[in-house]
Structures are given as structure tokens and as C-alpha cells.
């Protein structure tokens, strides 16, 4: 770990930035969200708007040309984006997770410093290939291996799910260190578009997060060994990828949940306007779902603040403890379950207007997106980890 600068953007500038984010949300993301979803197409106009705000480099330190947000600010941006288009927010979050890996573990290295400068100045889009055919969602095992030849290497990975693989400029690939390494001796390799070929293997016609275009590919890449992040992937995962993923995913799911409750609130208000003497049933349901939303929000915000605290102390030991992993796993399990609960409760309030695809209260996309949350790193896999780790936990 080298990056400890969690001071972040000044409060005032950040509030302004967040206003801009909500503005593109209202003007560009929301109007396109239904089409993105219906046609499972990449939300190009929304990503372009995000790029205009220089947000691709949001988590890159200012001295490298980024905006220098800290992790809680980055999480707030994901939360805001989630209120307008789940797919766009997911693309943004996944990009930032890769950025965080490079920022936290590459900054002592000239190559990665320059690389991050380029990401900020050119608004490069970073994608991730961790999932592998034959392994599934276990991040800590790889079949593919880096094959080194002098200073260069080749790496071929059969990746069944790479979000926006076609649109990305760079790919972060997990792999075994050498062809002789055990499955868990992994490195994190960064290859650029000109370094790889993608052979499509699987389409992305899914229930939700349709705009992430998470198609499957056989990735054939080559590069210079300096493109391998120096830290072992085990460290990158526990200190950066694992906490950042679940905090940023949790944040955008929170955004989706928030939007659904906002719609339920608007629906109840409309109802009251039409018939002030209507029974209070829907309002009661709104009160109920609102309290669940608060629970989810406080949990997501609290975990982000805790992580920020540990990062600012540069506390690698604390980040590596089982108790911190358990906490982050709990965040994932609860937020991915609560999003379904909250959207379902909102649907009950909006009734048939929420069930329809063509009303302003439609919750179809929200609900379909919500079900993806528990599958991206399967909740049962995470629960299994916690079942083991809790044997080594002294208590809270």
C-alpha cells in the first residue's frame, strides 16, 4: 500500500461536483436508461457525460491529473449515478475498482504512475477479467498463467463475463504468476487495447444490468512485464479490490433503492392529491420501506467511512485482518439483499403502475437489476467464507 491520501476534494468543490452529477443524471442518464435496458446497449452518451466531468480520473490523485476524491466521496458519486441508470453506475463503479487497485498498489512504480496520468488525461475506460471459465466466481484462483519470455509476456484467459469488454481501453486480468504456479499464486496484469484481441464467446442477454454489456471473451494478450502490478494479487484483493468493490457496488445499489423509494413516495403523493381521503395503507408501506432504506444507507456509508479511516492510517495490517473481511462481506450480503427488499416493497406501493414498463413509476428495471447484486460474487460463496472466518473472530 502506498496511497494514503484520503483527504479528498474540499467539501465545497465536492458538493458542486455532486450537483453536476445529478444534473447529467436528470438530463442524460435517466432519459436514456430505458433504451439502454431494452436494447442491452452500452450507455455511450452517459459515459461521455461522465468523461466530460473528468470523473474517469475521480480517484486518481490530483498530482497525476485526477480529481483526488477519497473513497467516501467516490462512493457518493456511485450512489448518485445509481439513482438514474443502474448499468451506467455499475460501469462507473467497476472502472473505479480497477483504478483503486492501480492507485493503491502501483504508485511507487514509474510505469503505473504514467499509466494513471494517461487514464486521467485521456479518460480511459478500465474493465476487469477476474471470473474464469472452469473456476467461476472464486477470485483467489486462476487457471490461466503469465508466460514470460525475456521482458515480454503472453497471457490468454477464457473469461465468460467481462463488462463493457468491447468498449474498454484497458483490461485488468487476474492470472497465475507463471505456468508452474499454484492456482492461488496470482498477479494482476494490465493490458491496453492494442495489446489484446477479444474473441467473443458468450452474449449478454440478461435479466438486469443489461447496459453493462458483460459479454464473454477469449482474451489473447501480450505485453511488457512492467505491466504486471508489483504487489501480489492476494494483497491487492484484501486491501483494495474486495473493500472497494463491495463499497462501490453497495453504493450504486443504494442509489437504485433510493430511486425506487423516491418513486413510491411520488406515487403516494399523487394518490393523496387525487383522493385525500384514501386509506393510509400505501403511506404506511412507504414509512416501512423508508426505514429499511435508512438501514441500508447507514451501513454502506459506515463501511465506506471505516475503510477510508484505515486507508488514511495506511493500516495494511488492519485491512488484512479476518475481522475486516467479515465486515466487508457482511456489507455485500446485506446490501445485495436489502436492494431486493426495498425495490419489492416500493413495487407493492406503486402497484400495477410500477409493474408496467411504460409508466413513470415503472420499477421493472430496478427489480431486474436488483437481482444481479447477490450473484456478482455469489452471496452463498461469501457466506461460506464468513462461516469459516467467524471461527477466527473474537467477537465485536
Amino acid at each position: 500500500m502506498e496511497h494514503t491520501n484520503q483527504a479528498g476534494m474540499s467539501k465545497e468543490s465536492f458538493e458542486k461536483l455532486l450537483e453536476e452529477v445529478h444534473k447529467i443524471g436528470e438530463e442524460i442518464m435517466r432519459p436514456n436508461a430505458r433504451d439502454v435496458d431494452a436494447n442491452a446497449r452500452f450507455p455511450q452518451e452517459s459515459i461521455d457525460a461522465i468523461k466530460k466531468l473528468k470523473l474517469m480520473g475521480a480517484y486518481i490523485p490530483t498530482e497525476l491529473g485526477g480529481l483526488g476524491l477519497n473513497i467516501t466521496q467516490l462512493a457518493r458519486v456511485c450512489e448518485a449515478l445509481g439513482q438514474y441508470c443502474g448499468s451506467t453506475a455499475m460501469i462507473f463503479a467497476m472502472h473505479q475498482i480497477q483504478v483503486a487497485c492501480a492507485v493503491n498498489h502501483g504508485l511507487s512504480n514509474e510505469h503505473f504512475k504514467n499509466y494513471l496520468k494517461k487514464v486521467a488525461s485521456d479518460s480511459r475506460l478500465l474493465a476487469s477479467a477476474t471470473t474464469e471459465m472452469g473456476i467461476g466466481g472464486d477470485l483467489r484462483q486462476s487457471i490461466c498463467a503469465v508466460e514470460q519470455n525475456g521482458d515480454s509476456f503472453t497471457l490468454t484467459k477464457n473469461a465468460p463475463v467481462i463488462s463493457y469488454g468491447k468498449q474498454a481501453d484497458d483490461l485488468f486480468i487476474t492470472s497465475r504468476r507463471t505456468p508452474d504456479s499454484p492456482a492461488n499464486d496470482q498477479v494482476h496484469v494490465v493490458v491496453s487495447k492494442e495489446d489484446y484481441e477479444l474473441e467473443p464467446s458468450m452474449a449478454w442477454d440478461t435479466m438486469g444490468f443489461r447496459g453493462t454489456c458483460s459479454e464473454g471473451f477469449l482474451v489473447k494478450s501480450k505485453g511488457h512485464i512492467k505491466q504486471i502490478i508489483p504487489a501480489p494479487f492476494a494483497d491487492i484483493l484484501s486491501q483494495s479490490m474486495h473493500p472497494t468493490s463491495h463499497i462501490l457496488w453497495g453504493s450504486l445499489w443504494l442509489g437504485i433503492a433510493t430511486d425506487s423509494v423516491n418513486m413510491a413516495r411520488a406515487f403516494v403523493r399523487d394518490m393523496m392529491k387525487k383522493n385525500p381521503n384514501a386509506p393510509q395503507t400505501a403511506a404506511l408501506r412507504l414509512a416501512e420501506v423508508h426505514s429499511v432504506l435508512q438501514l441500508m444507507r447507514e451501513n454502506v456509508h459506515g463501511c465506506a467511512e471505516h475503510y477510508q479511516q484505515l486507508l488514511s492510517e495506511n493500516n495494511a495490517e488492519a485491512l488484512d485482518t479476518f475481522s475486516f473481511s467479515v465486515k466487508i462481506n457482511n456489507l455485500k450480503i446485506s446490501s445485495s439483499s436489502l436492494i431486493i427488499d426495498i425495490v419489492s416493497k416500493s413495487l407493492l406501493i406503486c402497484g400495477i403502475a410500477g409493474y408496467r414498463n411504460d409508466t413513470k413509476y415503472s420499477l421493472s428495471r430496478h427489480l431486474r437489476d436488483a437481482y444481479g447484486a447477490s450473484l456478482m460474487v455469489n452471496n452463498d460463496r461469501i457466506m461460506n467464507h464468513n462461516a469459516t472466518l467467524l471461527h477466527m473472530h473474537r467477537g465485536d
Binding site: 504456479s181 499454484p182 492461488n184 499464486d185 492476494a234 484484501s238 495490517e317 488492519a318 488484512d320 485482518t321 479476518f322 475481522s323 467464507h385 469459516t388 472466518l389 471461527h391 477466527m392 473472530h393 473474537r394
Partner: protein, 81 residues
């Protein structure tokens, strides 16, 4: 002394794919096949044998990453006692 005992405990509880005798004190135990479930057994055996309680702040991946790092933790805790 501690090293020898740690090696014995590891042999019995580590369920490694590599025999402990083939491992150097600084070899990576995860690469030698140590799983998180086996880590639980290892931790319980260490606590029993040395009559220690490893605190949450030391219960992490790094502690169990090599024979040496286990020895360091055990020695730190037995000295305290």
C-alpha cells in the same frame, strides 16, 4: 524450539499439499495449499499448544502466511503472558 512445535502443529493441522519438511521457514503456506478452513484448525491447535489467545488484530492472512510469521506471533504472545 517454537519453530519445531509450529512445524509439528502445521504438519498435523495444515492439510498442506506439500510436506512441511520440504518447506523453508519463509515459504508461502498458501501456495503450499493452506486453505482458510485449515487455518481455523491450525489456529485452534496453536492456541491450545501455546496456551495463548490470538487477538483479532493479529488474526489475518499475513499471520498464517509462513512458518516464520506464525512463530513471530506465537513468540510475541507467549512473551506477553
Amino acid at each position: 524450539m517454537t519453530v519445531q512445535k509450529v512445524r509439528e502443529i502445521l504438519e498435523k493441522n495444515g492439510r498442506l499439499s506439500t510436506p512441511v519438511t520440504d518447506l523453508a521457514d519463509d515459504s508461502d503456506l498458501y501456495n503450499a495449499g493452506l486453505t482458510s478452513l485449515a487455518t481455523v484448525g491450525l489456529m485452534l491447535a496453536l492456541e491450545d499448544e501455546f496456551n495463548i489467545e490470538i487477538p483479532d488484530s493479529m488474526l489475518g492472512r499475513k499471520t498464517f502466511s509462513s512458518i516464520q510469521s506464525i512463530v513471530d506471533v506465537v513468540e510475541q504472545l507467549t512473551q506477553k503472558a
